[in-house]
Amino acid sequence: MADAHHDELGAHISPLQTYFAVFGALLVFTVLTYAVSLADLGPFAFPIAMVVAFCKAFLVATFFMHLKYDERFNVVVFVSSLFFVSVFAFFTIIDVTGRGALRPEEGYYVFQEELDAIAAMEAAAAAEEATAAGEEEAEADDDDH
């Protein structure tokens, strides 16, 4: 069963070149990670950094952890854990980013638009009261004489 590319258990033996090439690629990606952080990419900086990290992770998982030549079920196990982390991340992120800013003076989270709308309503109500009070006073003055 054993030959140049398989051991006695029939498992695949990666050539030395494969391991060194993957290590070289990982070093390149590490330099790229650092370069991405220095470059001014604006809002794309974070997603690109994560893409680079995922590339490194893919290389480690596929070649160092031998998933490329391994039984498919081990791949399913690993990928499923990533899937459930994604579910976890998805709901957490839409919750946290979907809130307004923390307003300590209000004591809770509220959207700025809501605050503005409340302020506008209160201002309108105050203005209405002022005009109504003014009208009443004018009427009272009229009644007086």
Binding site: A2, D7, E8, L9, G10, A11, I13, S14, L16, Y19, F20, V22, F23, L26, L27, T30, T33, Y34, V36, S37, L41, A45, F46, A49, M50, V52, A53, K56, A57, V60, A61, F63, F64, M65, D70, E71, F73, N74, V77, F78, S80, S81, L82, F84, V85, F88, A89, T92, I93, V96, T97, L102
Partner: protein, 220 residues
């Protein structure tokens, strides 16, 4: 070990466990067990990554300023050290696959040495933080000005790198066990499950750091 004198070694490894059909199935089962554990480890670390994202979303200005207190050069060095240790670990497993006993021992020794270098660098990093009062939660006592909630950033920093560091220490202990067994010639082309599975664990430790480094040290 369960190998009675009446049972002559019928060509199988002394480490064959008879409730398995053959060595191949034994190795396959052991590897599946390790992958299930690694799936758990991914979920385990994901909790801290979520805490990182929640606090980063709520206090972006803190993250942008506080992360400069971390030494990105040391973080980068640790990244390269761990990547190299992953390479030597993979080469150690390969050495077992091709019956190269001396190479197994050398590669394992280098992996352990790299792990120690990682811990030493982390020690210096932690000492620097502690000295400046850049500590988690209530312990935070830094005199400089970092906007928002810097104690949260350092809570996340110490919890994530601390948990990762504990995994490195556990890895070192297991690697030493492997080193001793490899030195005794236990592993060969027909039996190398312990090597392979510890290797998988070690690659996961590396994987976690691959994400920790840009998220903590290179925030943008």
């Amino acid at each position: 070990m369960g190998h009675a004198a009446d049972h002559a070694h019928s060509g199988h490894s002394p480490f064959f466990q008879h409730h398995f059909i053959d060595m191949r199935q034994q190795a396959s089962s052991a590897k599946l067990g390790m992958w299930l554990f690694l799936a758990q480890e991914v979920l385990f670390f994901s909790v801290l990554f979520m805490a990182y994202f929640i606090f980063r979303t709520l206090y972006p200005e803190t993250w942008l300023v506080a992360h400069y207190k971390l030494d990105a050069a040391l973080g980068g060095l640790n990244t390269v050290v761990l990547l190299f240790s992953s390479l030597t670990m993979a080469l150690a497993v390969r050495a077992a696959q091709v019956n190269a006993k001396k190479q197994q021992v050398i590669m394992l020794a280098v992996t352990i040495a790299c792990a120690f270098v990682f811990l030493v660098v982390k020690y210096f990093e932690y000492m620097s933080k502690i000295g400046k009062g850049l500590l988690p939660g209530n312990l935070y006592s830094y005199s400089g000005d970092i906007p928002g909630a810097p104690e949260l950033f350092f809570t996340v920093y110490f919890c994530m790198t601390g948990l990762h560091g504990i995994h490195v220490v556990a890895g070192i202990i297991v690697l030493f066990w492997l080193l001793i067994r490899a030195g005794k010639g236990h592993f060969n082309s027909g039996y190398y499950s312990p090597m392979e599975n510890v290797g998988l664990y070690w690659h996961l430790v590396d994987l976690v750091w691959i994400f920790l480094f840009p998220l903590l040290y290179l925030v943008k």
